[in-house]
Subunit: 248 residues, 2 copies
């Protein structure tokens, strides 16, 4: 049997991670190592300034007082009895689309798995209201089986977003969308008359473009985006080397 490490950033008790764990058990030995609380709003990096405790919650489910990235590193090195064949992160409550993926703990965990050299997939449920984790997990199972069989390109992870609702139209392979800057900052006054700002309230907006993650979700399709770890703009690098080197 293959071995799958499950993690997330919503915490070990979130229904999304439980649904993912249950689905993976159909094809693999499955171990969950996840943060002991919701970590969406904390650092995604390795925790190096304090000790990390691993607590067994139940058979094959462990919590760590750290980030999703800590969970992958500790899970692979210290919790699992052998090297896993796949790291799956999620199912996140909410989408991870476009430029915002760099802020996602769910995607960060899959990035860490990829750095370690293990095929990794991030799963997010791109819904705002109802969250059908069990339905999303059926697709996660299907894709996990394919990745275990076929592997993934080097240094590349899959960022998967599944639309809300039960009417999924199919699967699209997509590129990362581009967030449009929306000037949706509202001004209010508190009870003491002090002005403050509140960001949001508008609908997220994205640049048009062929085959982006955002467009696939809007059209009711599952979006699978292959991401790599290298953000270098090599065209720009070549240009700068050629034209800017004499400026310093």
């Amino acid at each position: 049997m293959p071995l799958i490490l499950v993690t997330n950033d919503d915490g070990v008790f979130s229904p999304g991670v439980a649904a993912l764990h249950e689905a993976m058990k159909n094809i693999a030995d499955t171990v969950t190592v996840a943060p002991d609380r919701e970590m969406s709003a904390t650092s995604h990096s390795l925790t190096m300034h304090r000790p990390l405790f691993v607590n067994k919650i139940q058979k094959d489910v462990y919590s760590v007082n750290g980030t999703p990235t800590d969970c992958v590193t500790l899970g692979v090195s210290k919790v699992l009895e052998r090297r896993p064949d796949l790291v799956v992160s999620g199912i996140n409550k909410g989408g991870n689309l476009g430029d915002d993926i760099t802020y996602s703990g769910t995607v960060s965990a899959a990035i860490e798995g990829t750095i370690i050299g293990i095929p990794s997939i991030a799963f997010s449920l791109a819904s705002h209201e109802e969250f059908y984790f069990a339905e999303a997990a059926v697709f996660a199972l299907k894709l996990a089986a394919i990745v275990i069989e076929k592997g993934l390109p080097r240094d590349t992870l899959l960022n998967v977003n599944i639309p809300g609702g039960k009417d999924i139209k199919g699967v699209k392979f997509t590129g990362q969308g581009r967030r449009v800057y929306l000037d949706s900052i509202h001004e209010y006054y508190d009870p003491m008359g002090k002005k403050h700002y509140w960001i949001g309230g508008g609908k997220s907006s994205w640049q048009e473009g062929d085959d982006t993650d955002f467009l696939a979700i809007e059209a009711g399709y599952i979006s699978i985006t292959p991401l790599h770890l290298d953000l270098t703009n090599y065209d720009a690098l070549g240009y700068l080397k050629k034209n800017w080197n004499n400026m310093f």
Copy 2:
């Protein structure tokens, strides 16, 4: 005079942001909008779940109870009187190199500036001991003047790391380095006999490669890496569209 927005993730009172602000004043009207506390270990995304207050600290220096990304968005929309010509983030106390840049608040602020469409630069002092911010700011001034004059390629920011020490050998244009997974997790027991783990203690290690940010810093050079916002692996996307589409 051009207008420059300065921010960082170490907080409005950090010496790095003060050094950067002072340097920029030589070539531009300069306004700092920075978090009211150290935000390295918090979310880099927009704060949408609570109000944000802007406090004037002194002339042209404002704090926000939010993230570096909030500071850029609010700074451009609400604090600055006109659209800035450049966003500079830093000078961060510590390097932002290789794969770890996706976790960096300093780089996130420059990403946000780029999303808004303003040329943006992240500056980090890649030292572990002494931090010569004033020396680093001299270089930041030089580069900022060049970027204001020449502009930057579309959707591209510069991630700049400056080595510690005063003997800087020169400037290299580099690609993003690749972190090597280091199995440096230590096991300890607390006073109650409970086992815990502590990550770190080893030296950061990086894959060999031509012209990476890490190698430039190791060799005593300033590293300038052009980054873009799109993490899509387009080669992999083409492959998946061709070969995986019939699997679902």
